[in-house]
Structure formats: C-alpha cells, structure tokens
Symmetry: C2
Subunit: 195 residues, 2 copies
C-alpha cells in the first residue's frame, strides 16, 4: 500500500496511533460503527457482551494500512493488546519513529458526467495541473506529455496529458477511459492526485 496516498485519501483529521503506544478501545462504539458500515442493526446481528468494560486500555502492537481490492476504499487494521496498567506495557524498539506522513501537495476532484463518460477524457483543473503535474514544454504544438501514475495498490497507469482547446485547458486523454472502466468510476466519485 502507498502510505502517503493512503493518508491523502484519509484526510488531515485521521491520525493513526504509534506502534507501542497506549490507546483506549471502546467496544460499544466499535460495534455501532461496524453495524452502520455493514448496514445491520447492532442488536440483531452483532453479539453483545454485557460483562465487558466500556473502555479497555490497550497497547498497540501492529498497524497496517489497507485498501479494498475492488473499491479502493481505505481502512486500517490494528492489533491491540489489553493491559491492566501502564506497568504491563511491553517496550517496543523504536524503528526511527515512523510518523504518518500527511502530504501537502495534492488535489482532489469530484468527477463530472463528462469525466466519466466514454465520449471524452478528464478535464484537469488548471491550478491542480500547474501545481502538481510536471511542467509541460510549451514550445510544443500542442504541449503534451505522458504521465505515469501509481494507485493505492502500486499498479501503474499512464495518461496522456495535453494542453489544448480554445480557450486552452489541461486534459487527460489516452489511458483515462481504461482507468475509469477498471475502477468502475461514476459521476460523483472522487479522484485524488499526489506528487
């Protein structure tokens, strides 16, 4: 998984706990969130543990980033070890304090009907193209370059980036429709690019 892209998709409010640190786990809240995300009601389908404490102090043993193979929805998996007090905490060697990197250079666009239709390509917002994409050779007629991009699963995609039309604009043409088809994108979905 591309960690930086993962955090760009998760947004600036999502911080993951460090491995080895202490967190509180709230079983009831977790159960309710699972119920919502799987569209079941908590009482009918998800077991209830009435003797469980409302919050459990835990040490984080592992954190892994994931993205659904099919939908690219991002999520994280954490292994938690319940501890009774801070004395139980198992010291974990610090491998250089890997901080979660939240990228600052990115742009996100909600896809329009034209972006996802088979009739044409992807219209790149001007500021986004000028800030993030490698600069075009504007002496070419028209200015064109090939963009090679990697997704969350590190699959590569190549797009033709062209600056054309009247008035002039940035577009992704060849390669874009394959991307839309493979990811089954629809108008209203979002794409996010990072440098």
């Amino acid at each position: 998984i591309n960690s930086e892209l993962w955090h760009a998709c998760a947004g600036p409010l999502v911080f993951l706990p460090q491995v080895g640190s202490l967190v509180y786990y709230f079983p009831q809240g977790h159960s309710e969130q699972v119920a919502v995300s799987t569209k079941r009601t908590a009482t009918s389908q998800i077991p209830n543990y009435p003797n469980l404490q409302s919050q459990l102090m835990c040490q984080v043993h592992n954190v892994t980033l994931h993205a659904d193979k099919d939908t690219d929805e991002i999520y994280a998996q954490m292994s938690l070890q319940p501890v009774n007090s801070e004395r139980d905490v198992f010291p974990i060697p610090d491998f250089g304090l890997r901080l979660s990197k939240h990228p600052s250079e990115f742009f996100c666009k909600t896809l329009t009907a034209s972006d996802t239709s088979t009739h044409g390509g992807f219209s790149v917002p001007r500021r986004a193209a000028e800030k993030l994409f490698p600069p075009l050779d504007y002496t070419m007629q028209p200015p064109t370059q090939e963009l090679v991009v990697r997704d969350l699963h590190d699959n590569t995609w190549t797009f033709r980036h062209i600056y054309r039309g009247q008035p002039k604009r940035h577009l992704l043409t060849t390669g874009w429709s394959m991307f839309v088809g493979s990811k089954r994108l629809r108008a209203g979905d979002s794409v996010l690019f990072i440098r």
Copy 2:
C-alpha cells in the same frame, strides 16, 4: 434459485438428502474436499480435530440450493444436527415430500471459440433446437422468434432465435453477446438449457 435448473446442472448422479432424514457426516472427507476446492493443503491451513469420530450420524434439518453470484457455480448448503441414536431423531412434518426434480428435457453444449467471440452469435445444435425450443413458424422468411430465458438466479435474458444460412441452421443472435459478456463466458465453458 431455480431448483430444476440447479439439478440439471448438478447432473443425474447428485441426490440431496430429504429434510428430516438421517445421514452420516464424514469430517475428514469434508476437510479434504474443502482443501482441494480452495487450493490449500489440508494440513497447513485447515484445523485438525484428532478427537473427532470419523463419521457422525446426523439428522438433516435444512437444505438450500445456491449458485455463486459471480460464477454461477452451483452448490448446496445443509444444516446437520448430530444425533447419538435413532431415538434422538426429531420428527419433521412432511410438506408433501418435495422430491428433487431431475429434468429430462435439457441440452448442454460446450462453447466453441465462435460461440464466445464477439464476431457472431451462438450456433444451436439442430436436435437441441428442435427438441427444446418452441417450434418456429417456417413460413416466415427467415423463420425467427424471440426466446425469453431465466438463469439460476431468475434473471431473464432474451435471445433472437433464427433459422438461416446455407445450409440452414439454428442460431441465437441478438442478445447472446450480452449474455456472454455478463457471465464472462470463455470457449470451453458450458451452457445448459431446460424446457
């Protein structure tokens, strides 16, 4: 699930036990079959229960027919209740002794490269068309009719059935390619029609 089509696909050797009847369950054999069908080795991935009897007498409580939503592979799910002797058997009311119906009127064809290619339609074996399909009006030029068919999941598909060419032959044309695409059929796959 279309029960009659399910049995046509399963073949004449597959009989399912009646609800309420007694069967023997073989854990080891089941484990080995799961290992084969999931392409894992029994020893490495599937738990071993050394204290389990080699065969368990069970009463059948439920039998449901299924087909994989994606691949249309058929399978059955059975709920078994272990019993120690025939005295434990729970009497189950007999709702008219629903026998598994094995249809006699059907035909099965392994798809050729031409059948699955986008270049044309489906070549219907003459005997199959004459035995199973509704008779064509041979006064038409050419004889044509619309065939409405239901699959295992009771989705409907419509095919244009035409009798043409030199020499004359039965073909499914319009609608066939959509079926091949949706089911992701390849040469070597089989299709089965029942009346």
